[in-house]
Symmetry: C3
């Protein structure tokens, strides 16, 4: 099981990674693309359906474009994380409230994440967004 320091470190890493995803939600809710991009590695990526956005410029484009237009408010939960040194993988559920062309939309799904410790701080290496549904609130998910 390793020394107590090593065992403590795993819990501390998971705690920091959970807060990383929380900070992501706040930065997205505030539409602060600069703050969002800061949470990713320099070569980090975001994938959604068949679209992939990579690197500082790719991510900034994504988060100032389509994402910003829908003013998404993500709420993350159900987080499972596996840490391996300076790398980690995780999966977390998400519910998102957004607006599309003046209509309230509700989204549910999960993120399949990889994380990497860079300069002593955990960041997203990749974030793949899998949706259960993405529907107008007035229509629902049936």
């Amino acid at each position: 099981m390793g020394t107590i320091e090593e065992r403590w470190q795993v819990l501390a890493d998971k705690d920091e990674i959970r807060e990383l995803t929380a900070r992501y939600c706040f930065a997205v809710a505030e539409g602060d693309a600069g703050a969002i991009v800061e949470l990713f590695c320099e070569d980090g990526s975001f994938q959604m359906r068949d679209r992939r956005y990579q690197g500082v410029e790719g991510l900034r484009q994504m988060y100032t474009g389509a994402a910003a237009g829908t003013t998404p408010k993500p709420f993350i939960q159900n987080h499972v994380i596996e840490v391996d040194g300076d790398a980690a993988t995780g999966r977390c559920g998400v519910e998102i409230r957004m607006v599309n062309k003046g209509e309230a939309y509700t989204v549910a799904g999960h993120y399949a994440d990889t994380y990497r410790r860079v300069d002593g701080r955990w960041r997203f290496a990749s974030r793949d967004f899998m949706t259960y549904h993405w529907v107008p609130l007035s229509k629902g998910w049936a």
Copy 2:
């Protein structure tokens, strides 16, 4: 307060139990009854209203029957856990998106759980589901 190793263990146990409930959500969302049953003790139980499902066969029946038909997507939060050696109790809030006869339903409530460590792994000993409401999304919870 115990040794640092004992104190670390309580936090590690709570971390694992929170992930147990997260794994439950993913297994339910995927409709994977086998994976769900694996998260319970062999004599584990699930209770909902006046119905109780117990043991591997009882649980499998429940999660391949009514539950599977409604394709529930649970999201768990607000988790309080008390650990006592190889046993623990917990309470966690839940919001569930499901479909009933072609109609979107939304459910909110909480689980009153007991957990047990079996073969070095935490599992559900019992999971009692208490609902605040269970309503068509189009009607709402008023």
Copy 3:
């Protein structure tokens, strides 16, 4: 980084603070104003828009009045906490299901919290509620 005991303490403090916010949700969902007030410091405060409620009596009034009438069910997530000895600050997302004049309402936002350790137990020193929206479910957040 401090001794292992000090490092453990920070994680234990954050764990207890997360559970404090979970207990808040359960006490609110149960409409138990006494239990809610117990989670605050004696001079603790709750702020919402331009209204501020402070101290045992102020808080009890708030949680037995307007809040109780709407039977709110809060779900908290996305929690970031910074601990500094016996004081801490935090931010957490929240979704609330409530009823207003017979109509289902949905609320999303976050709490900007400060916490204080009093008599060995973490409590809310202040809780400021910032809303993204507060709307009838039938209308949505567009």
